[in-house]
């Protein structure tokens, strides 16, 4: 038998026929396609029992109640808690992205000690004990020099037990330098102090207002407690309330408002005062309030005399009739309210004059402590700890002036002026700075100066859960739990009309070797020892919390929040209080100079104004991947941020859609992409806050520019607040 070509061919044909009649080719074809349906590199989420756990979101000051859907031990989704008084089931874009923060790659997994140069990114993991010892030693060292005021801490706010624990620690330690990050709430608080002489916060009964006059307040761009304001806006739509937005740019708020008054940036105070002038001049004010409960109406009249509609028209660019028209409509509405804002209002307190002018409008129409108006809400008073015993060093330290000057002299209205300290470099920089729940190195204006000043602080400690800019430039990082892992009280302010305390409860085991910030403070105090240790006698933070919230704890644990639905501000008829309209410091505030943006108009023909977008988180939390994905291509394209510019202005400066240009201001310059937009006023450039991170992950870092690096700060002459709303700018070819 010879195996020749033909035999071989025959064998092959036989083989092919046999194979075709066997399952091999068919099953293989099927299985290969099934393989593509189950590629091992495409994740398969494990199945399991589905249930919800509720907690409070702390990603912004809004204080929404959230429920976390879990599958066995995994958190898979964040939804709004239906029963919660703040958000009633709604949830914002940042709240929805929370799990990306919990499970994301930017989490700091263990305490870290810097080993390379600052900001170089070289770290050595250390134990909690080592880290706390190192910090305590540093603090003891400073104290041993007899200068406890040289230790400082900076928090997002002083609210709640954690804020108070920090404050207590600074007190027993002997430092007056407890700083908080600025926000428009500071201005409201100062205005309240000046007009009513009380320490309280401002709330707005938005839901019941029927005419909302918003002076640049980003109601739908994340101001206040965003979900609550969104819901209020829907209520306005249903009730046919009138919303007037006063702003140079057609923001989302302006777009959704019934009327948009596009005024020149920075002229809000002029407009408010002119409206007050019209209301007074036409006798449209509520006399039962103004005559009954206000002081110094005559003084106000004198001041207002200068602020004619014509003057306002010149300043704002509106026609005088328009000023009059809206003043009249505002005054004639049955439940009007005027709001002071500036986007989300979380970067600076702004001009006290402007805030005051808006508040006066409310007073003139009697919208103070009335349904649908501006309410005075007392501060939460549940923290009733005994005053700590102070030693000699502490008492001496506390006597010394605050490094930022807040609360004294010219700066009396302010309680914290971190921008003055870190931005302008006024005052003595601390030796040790502890930073928690904020990211000053990113979110304070005059970013370059802040960075320089930071570099001069010998020892910086960050408690951040994420490797943000401040943590990246710290000497020691003691990462705290993220909100989904911790137990904590969340007293909500954010313009709520009623007091709400949320409870942040752990919905998952801590993912990494992190700790609750309260526990860290207590442990730190113990390490410092002596009077500090004595002032922190709680077993741990949980014990402290339960003890502090004693009477509310059961409610908090059961419902996840405590809510005083019955709260109403004190009626004027019942009290002794008066609303001061003018006189003294008030006159000084109202007659303060207008805030003029820095820079020579001849050299910088344009004005740059930062804007807030709800899709861009711009304070402590950076945009998680979901959010950055939701950012439009008219805001961010590739790595370039878009500068919004009116087409007319673009023509004038010969730039076109999509072109890459240099945006230059007196304090910095950056590469941006031109986006022509009829929504912005000619001559004004807009760049969003929240981009240009150098820290965080590859989904966020390196995209766009940090507008804080392009703008400076301007001190409000009456309060010391940072009142800059923009800066002079120009465009240049790259």
């Amino acid at each position: 038998m010879k195996v020749d070509r033909r035999s071989f061919l025959s064998l092959l044909i036989g083989g092919a026929a046999g194979t075709a009649l066997s399952p091999l080719p068919w099953k293989l074809t099927d299985d290969l396609s099934i393989w593509t349906q189950n590629w091992p590199w495409t994740p398969v989420p494990p199945r399991g029992e589905s249930y919800y756990e509720t907690t409070t979101c702390t990603l912004c000051p809004g204080g929404c109640g959230i429920k976390v859907r879990k599958i066995d031990q995994r958190c898979v989704k964040i939804e709004g808690a239906d029963e919660h008084p703040v958000n009633k089931g709604g949830v914002c874009i940042l709240g929805l992205s929370g799990l990306q923060l919990l499970y994301g790659p930017t989490r700091i997994r263990t305490p870290l000690k810097r080993v390379g140069k600052r900001g170089e990114g070289k770290w050595e993991p250390v134990s909690w004990d080592q880290a706390l010892t190192r910090l305590a030693d540093k603090l003891k060292e400073v104290r041993a020099q007899g200068a406890p005021e040289k230790a400082a801490c900076l928090l997002d706010s002083s609210r709640g037990t954690v804020g108070h624990l920090f404050r207590r620690l600074m007190t027993v330690y002997g430092s007056p330098n407890f700083f908080t990050m600025p926000s428009v709430e500071d201005a409201y608080r100062a205005a309240l102090k000046l007009t009513q002489g009380i320490e309280a916060r401002v709330g707005f009964d938005l839901e019941n207002a029927d005419f909302v006059l918003s002076f640049g307040c980003g109601l739908l761009d994340g101001w206040g407690s965003p979900v609550r304001v969104f819901k209020a806006n829907s209520t306005w739509k249903e009730n046919h309330a009138t919303v007037v937005q006063i702003e140079p740019r057609l923001s989302n708020t302006a777009a959704k408002a019934d009327h948009w008054l596009a005024i020149k940036p920075g002229s809000e105070a002029e407009l408010a005062l002119a409206m007050a002038n019209v209301i007074v001049g036409r006798n449209l004010y509520r006399s039962e309030f103004v005559d009954g409960f206000c002081e110094n109406f005559q003084g106000l009249k004198r001041i207002l005399a200068l602020h004619t509609p014509e003057a306002a028209a010149a300043a704002t660019g509106l026609a005088p009739e328009v000023v009059v028209k809206w003043a009249v409509e505002f005054a004639r509405a049955s439940r009007p309210v005027a709001l002071y804002g500036r986007g989300q209002g979380r970067t600076a307190a702004g001009s006290l004059r402007q805030c005051m002018a808006v508040m006066l409008l409310n007073a003139l129409v009697g919208a103070v402590n009335r349904a649908g108006g501006m309410w005075t809400v007392p501060d939460y008073d549940y923290i009733g700890w005994e005053e700590p015993e102070l030693d000699e060093v502490a008492r001496a330290g506390l006597e010394r002036p605050r490094a930022d000057g807040a609360g004294s002299g010219k700066y009396t209205p302010a309680s914290s002026l971190v921008q003055r300290l870190l931005g302008s470099g006024a005052g003595q920089l601390p030796e040790v700075l502890m930073v928690a729940r904020c990211n000053p190195l990113y979110s304070l204006p005059e970013n370059g100066a802040v960075k320089d000043n930071f570099d001069k602080i010998p020892f910086v400690v960050s408690f951040s859960s994420f490797m943000d800019e401040t943590a990246a430039n710290a000497d020691l990082v003691l990462p705290e739990h993220v909100y989904l892992e911790r137990l904590e009280d969340v007293p909500v302010t954010a313009g709520l009309s009623c007091p709400v305390i949320g409870l942040c409860q752990p919905v998952t085991e801590p993912r990494w070797d992190t700790r609750s910030l309260g526990d860290v403070v207590i442990a730190l105090a113990r390490k410092i020892g002596d009077s500090a240790a004595a002032a922190f006698q709680w077993d741990d933070y949980e014990a402290c919390l339960k003890e502090t919230l004693e009477d509310k704890w059961d409610t908090l644990e059961e419902r996840g929040f405590w809510y005083d639905a019955e709260f109403r501000p004190p009626a004027w008829e019942d009290g002794e209080g008066k609303f001061r309209l003018a006189g003294g410091k008030l006159d000084e505030v109202l007659q303060a100079d207008e805030i003029v943006p820095a820079g020579d108009p001849a050299k910088f023909p344009l004005i740059l104004v930062p804007y807030d977008s709800i899709r861009l988180a711009h304070d402590y939390i950076g945009d998680p991947p979901f959010m950055i994905k939701a950012v439009g291509d008219d805001v961010l394209k590739g790595k370039d941020v878009c500068v919004q510019i009116n087409p007319a202005t673009a023509r004038k400066f010969a730039v076109s859609e999509g072109s890459i240009v240099q945006l230059i201001t007196p304090v910095g310059k950056a590469r941006v992409r031109v986006h022509l937009d009829e929504a912005v006023m000619p001559g004004v450039l807009y760049v969003p806050r929240g981009l240009g991170h150098t820290a965080y992950d590859a989904y966020l870092a390196g995209k766009g520019i940090n507008v804080n690096a392009l703008i400076g700060s301007l001190e409000d002459p009456a309060s010391g607040f940072d009142a800059a709303w923009g800066i002079r700018a120009k465009l240049a070819k790259v």
């Binding site: 074809t29 290969l32 396609s33 393989w35 593509t36 349906q37």
Partner: protein, 445 residues
Amino acid sequence: MDSALIPEGVKRCPTWKFLLALAIAGAVLLWGVVAMLMVWFKGLNQTNMNDYYGFALWIWADLAFIALGGGAFFTGLLRYIFGIKELKNIINYAVLIGFICYSSALLILAIDIGQPLRGWFIFWHANVHSMLTEVAFCLSCYFAVLCIEYLPLVLENRQLDKVPFFHNLSHNMHETMAVFAATGAFLSFFHQGSLGGVAGVLFGRPFAFRTGINIWPWTFFLFTWSAAAYGPCFTLFITWLTEKITGKKLVKDNVVELLAKIAGWMIITYVVAKIIDTVYWATVTAPSLGFKWTFFYSDNPLYGKWILLTEIVLCGIVPGLLLIFGPTRRNPAARVIALLLGVLGVSLNRWVMVLQVMAVPVMSFDKWVLYYPSWQEVATTLLPVAYGVILILISYRYLPIFPQEPELNPIAPYTPANGAEATAGGQAGDESETEAVGQAAPAGA
């Protein structure tokens, strides 16, 4: 060294020239294969397609190849069903070109889909209401027919033909070819048509959408008609190119002129239908959906009104008339220009029906999008071209494709006529594909 394989009675270029040509075309092929493998292994992210441009260069190439390959079915139809005997002298080449076009089209489809290993779902889990299903079935079946038509030609290779079984098989297949050709024509009618239907049924895309008969939009019929009209143009054009490159007369003028004349009438009738369709679409269909026809040509110069004019007048009416009128048809230069215009015209039509459909926004607030292909797409699109060149090189060298070649080019004795034609061959070769073949050319002389 391969002389034993070369058909009797014809002369071919030296082996080294042949191999050099193969190597050049092979290099392009290899480049395409690399791109193809990148796409298969890394996914379609290797292309510049996007969610708006889900159909792009490949699909255009696919549609164009199929239209140009339409010469095979139409010539087959004329030859076997209508019994036009003369066409037997060009049918082999028409079949070969068709075979290349269709195999390329299938390959492109296999590269184009996101999940190639699931490609068979289109058959197994077929949704018969989809035009693409119809395309896939008819395309595959017709490709089988083309294989059957090409096979006897392969078996006629001098060595293979020595095997009696192959010889007999080849003979029998020739005998029954009319049946296959009829089936092929039937299938072609449907897949050419359904390719037109692919765009025409998109009632969400007013630029593509056409009304029609029952489930078949007018584009269904227009595509079939245009493939029948322009496919032979491509066959004739490639034949002319081959003649130029080899420097030999391969098909007699009467055959060429006959097919050209038929193509001319087909083009003219097609263009008339196309004009009627366009007018109806522009004045009735599109306005009923809220679009003025000029809107579709309004955004950028690439998709301007010139495109419609070029397609209908320059690449439709002009070649049609050139081929119908005897004097221009008989003039080789005018004829070739007409053929080339025809080839461009049908390619342009397919381009518009794929690429421009994707570019035009439908929602009033949507934007026009433009797209440019990535190198991987270009390489993968050139792959079939290189493969076609190689297959033509091999087939021409080893198979008796042109029955009239020995008669027109007797090896000896030398005649002045042959010599004159041979020198004409030197002119060819400015495109890369022709260059490759060009290497093999002088040997014919």
